[in-house]
Symmetry: C3
Subunit: 255 residues, 3 copies
Amino acid sequence: MKKAFTNIHPTAIVSEGAKIAQNVVVGPYSIIHENVIVEEGTVIGSHCEIGHPVQNSSDGDPLIIGKNSLIRSHSIFYENSTFGENLVTGHRVTVREKTFAGRNLQIGTLSDVQGHCEIGNFVKFHSNVHIGQRSKICDYVWIFPYVVLTNDPHPPSDILLGVTLEKYVAVATMTTILPGVTVKEGALVGAHSSVSRDVEADTVVAGSPAKYICDTDKIKLKDGSNKSAYPWRRHFHRGYLPETIAKWISEFPEK
Amino acid sequence: MKKAFTNIHPTAIVSEGAKIAQNVVVGPYSIIHENVIVEEGTVIGSHCEIGHPVQNSSDGDPLIIGKNSLIRSHSIFYENSTFGENLVTGHRVTVREKTFAGRNLQIGTLSDVQGHCEIGNFVKFHSNVHIGQRSKICDYVWIFPYVVLTNDPHPPSDILLGVTLEKYVAVATMTTILPGVTVKEGALVGAHSSVSRDVEADTVVAGSPAKYICDTDKIKLKDGSNKSAYPWRRHFHRGYLPETIAKWISEFPEK
Amino acid sequence: MKKAFTNIHPTAIVSEGAKIAQNVVVGPYSIIHENVIVEEGTVIGSHCEIGHPVQNSSDGDPLIIGKNSLIRSHSIFYENSTFGENLVTGHRVTVREKTFAGRNLQIGTLSDVQGHCEIGNFVKFHSNVHIGQRSKICDYVWIFPYVVLTNDPHPPSDILLGVTLEKYVAVATMTTILPGVTVKEGALVGAHSSVSRDVEADTVVAGSPAKYICDTDKIKLKDGSNKSAYPWRRHFHRGYLPETIAKWISEFPEK
């Protein structure tokens, strides 16, 4: 079933079975497989493969891309995953089956989401992030480049212990989170760290193995203001809903 | 010479000189250059470039892809390399010339094999692995995401000292192996490590620089069984030959 | 304006507005957008996207690719950047807007240049390098695989403090340079390091956090000669201009 749309490039290969809403753009040389639902207003760049079949799978759930999403070029999404509205990806992202994500997910260039994971709302992955299977990532989490969420406590094995990142957590560049670790609400993991134990809420850990450095509110903004840089939602508001920002501002009156 | 085949996508560009066996699939928008031999039963996904010419080369050996292989989309293989049967790749892998690999090699998404290297049988690279030139990787080795095998002892220079990984070695996530290092049979390198010296057989090393932690058999399986997690071939059998598994089971009777 | 050229593949999509000089090659399934100037003798591989429009931008400067460049397959360049002659890229590089680079830049496979940065002449990025916004990279710098140049001192925030790498600096594999750091002329940063402070000229630092190890001239070439491996321009000359090499040789008479 193809509804009216105005901008499928003539070189795009769109399966007859794909359900493409109105006002969807599909770029040159992209492929849309049949088990796909693309909601209205979504833009898919060039050279993508959307709804890649899962090998040896028979459950047959579709890939659902929420409305007003933007999937940049050379990206690959498998069937059997769901994304809320306003998904935005960089280029050449890879997202495997059974990834269930809320709205306004951002996935940076080269990131690799291995599937079988849960992702909340307004989660942001910067470039080249690797999300292992069984990861659970809550609302408003930030993950920076070259971070790996692992899952196998003694590789190779058949045991998968996913990582959990609670709300507002930020994981800085080139950090590995080891299997089964929970990073609690509002914590910051410093760059180039290896995290082998749970991290307490609103604390900073760093190093390899990562150790407690200080509470997050001890880190000052480098803008000369002497204000705390954390909780980051006190000062960083780009890309969030007006009502969310208003709530965050009321939560943290100036001090 | 093109033999009979049933499933070359009409948008694929297949050179007249390429030798494509029967029952080979080539996906949309893929390119097969002329100096290529693809054996029967192999599947090549979309947007690939197979048999990329080597610059300034005149030796002209072909790229050989063994039978029943699967090369996933957006992958690039150069000419002048050889892969045994049952090669399986993730998406967007890059494999340069003079890579000589045995059977059942697995190369994860985004991995980058720089060529001029030897790879044994049943070797498995997870996602985003970087294999430097002059690496030698023996049978049944596992390499996990964001591992780099280096080769230049004082970069930049013209001296290349490759890394050697012996049989059954496992190298965990985000680890760098420094030039000329040999990791001996059955050793485990922990995540986020930097390995500057040879690693003894059946030992665990970790840290930066990596140091001896314990013998591998001291690590217990996290399944409540109190059994050792290593040698991993005692319990992990997915994807190996029945006769290999039988041998491994007889080698390690229950204890 | 399309001038005479001999080798635009019939499947390439070249905008009428693109300014393509003579003797330019564009490979199959590549896309050249309209705000692009490609100088003579340049080769663009397959599946590329060149001159990707910048979202919400109105300044409209073109992407300029200097003469005799080579952009390998699956690469993406945005408009509003400039590259001098002899640019060479690996496969699937991503280069965002407002990247201003000199001549003979090399960008390895999978590298991700985030834009808003300055890059000198004869700079070489090996594979999978991540260059954050506001980076400043001077002439003759080398960056090795999986190095990240960061910019946000307390992520996420709106404050960007770029990294500066002075002339002849070499940054080894899997290293993170933290925001605002300057690595001074001729310094070497060891593999798998995290650099939080400025690095003095002609010194070696390593570790996490990186500490002073020795002066660079204490590192000997592993060729049995007992000569110093640094400054590397004493012995490593591949890919530089004859007059540059002559100058380097006169600067470092044999000792």
